[in-house]
Amino acid sequence: MALDFSQIIPALPGLADGMLLTLKLLVMAVLGGVVLGTLLALARLSDNVLLSRLAKWYVNYFRSIPLLLVISWFYLVVPMVLSWITGDLTPVGAFTSCLVAFVMFEAAYFSEIVRAGIQSISRGQINAAYALGMSYGQAMRLVILPQAFRKMMPLLLQQSIILFQDTSLVYAVGLMDFLNTARSKGDVVGLPHEFLLFAGAVYFVISFGASQWVKRLQKRFAV
């Protein structure tokens, strides 16, 4: 069987749109996931037993179920919850429900990274911040978290690269991300192998390239 890649060129604008959606989902999910993950990490480390236990349950729960399940489930649940809250039926697209699913799922992983980061900062640093009169919030925001994030940046980025690949699971709810676009375009012109091979190459180049970049960054940070 001879492969014919020529049909990919006219499909490139459509594929670019798909990639744009993938990247948009990725960036928003990473930002939301890191924010929620940080809050979870702070809850987990707090002296409040209830708060700490809730955060622990949350993390353990989301780390024990498949992402595909979360995506499918949120696709059904998010519109329902929103209509309860707002009172009337608000149609939310697949994108929003996927974003919520990713944020909540990834927050569990990010929170473990951030927690390790916070714990790697010596007790003396927070004591010094307190001794200068800072509140807990100031000490975290100005002293502990900036150091923790700096230390954990490579791990956060690695996790984001994994998330980049996992965004492809949105095909389950029909969202036209990069992979789903490539698949459907390939089917239309009858060249599914070529389009999937191309998609694979693109994922590989981006993920591998990003991963190499993170490794270089890690070395520089280590100095």
Binding site: N127, A128, Y130, A131, G133, M134, Q138, V143, P146, Q147
Partner: protein
Amino acid sequence: MSAMISINNVSKWYGDFQVLTDCTTGVKKGEVVVVCGPSGSGKSTLIKCVNALEPFQKGEIIVDGIAVGDPKTDLPKLRSRVGMVFQHFELFPHLSITENLAIAQVKVLGRSQDEAREKGLKLLDRVGLKAHAHKFPGQLSGGQQQRVAIARALAMDPIAMLFDEPTSALDPEMINEVLDVMTELAQEGMTMMCVTHEMGFARRVAHRVIFMDKGAIVEDCDKDAFFGDINARSERARQFLSKILQH
């Protein structure tokens, strides 16, 4: 002289383990008190109770008329008025020296960036490190970092300073540059409570010396009495002194 810090019958436990037992002492305004004692005797714990970095279960500590253990006390505000210097400096490594000096002035005291920067530079000059303002803590020697840490505490215009073994993490050749800054500070009338084993400093600068052992204050007397009549001291204090004065 009136009491700046008074510690009355303070006891503290870690679970079943009693770290502090009925500690009673005080520091008057302008007084320099040195706290010494063997490792694990509770010196750090006691000094950290003064600015509530450690909670205590029994007794009371009053700092400038404010009860530290009172749940209604605004602890951040109290702490912002008491300077503390740590064994391991604890400068913020992600901030430049200038920012280290300015951050709490701006965020806690609400001073303007310019005002904070100027004050920081003045204090940096005072500890002889003005030329290093733009550097990061990691680029300074231990002695320099500790001088910056002292300047950072002074930038808050503290009513008293607490030192927890400020020279014990330093190479011997750097100890004096830090002790000199502390000596100057004492001579200017700063109220100071210093955990240190630098007995030369205690002799020269302290008004009173406290000796702790196993969580209790065993000796609390005038510097001259402490170093003068060694036979009047307790057995433990004598042992400790003979060990420490041998180096």
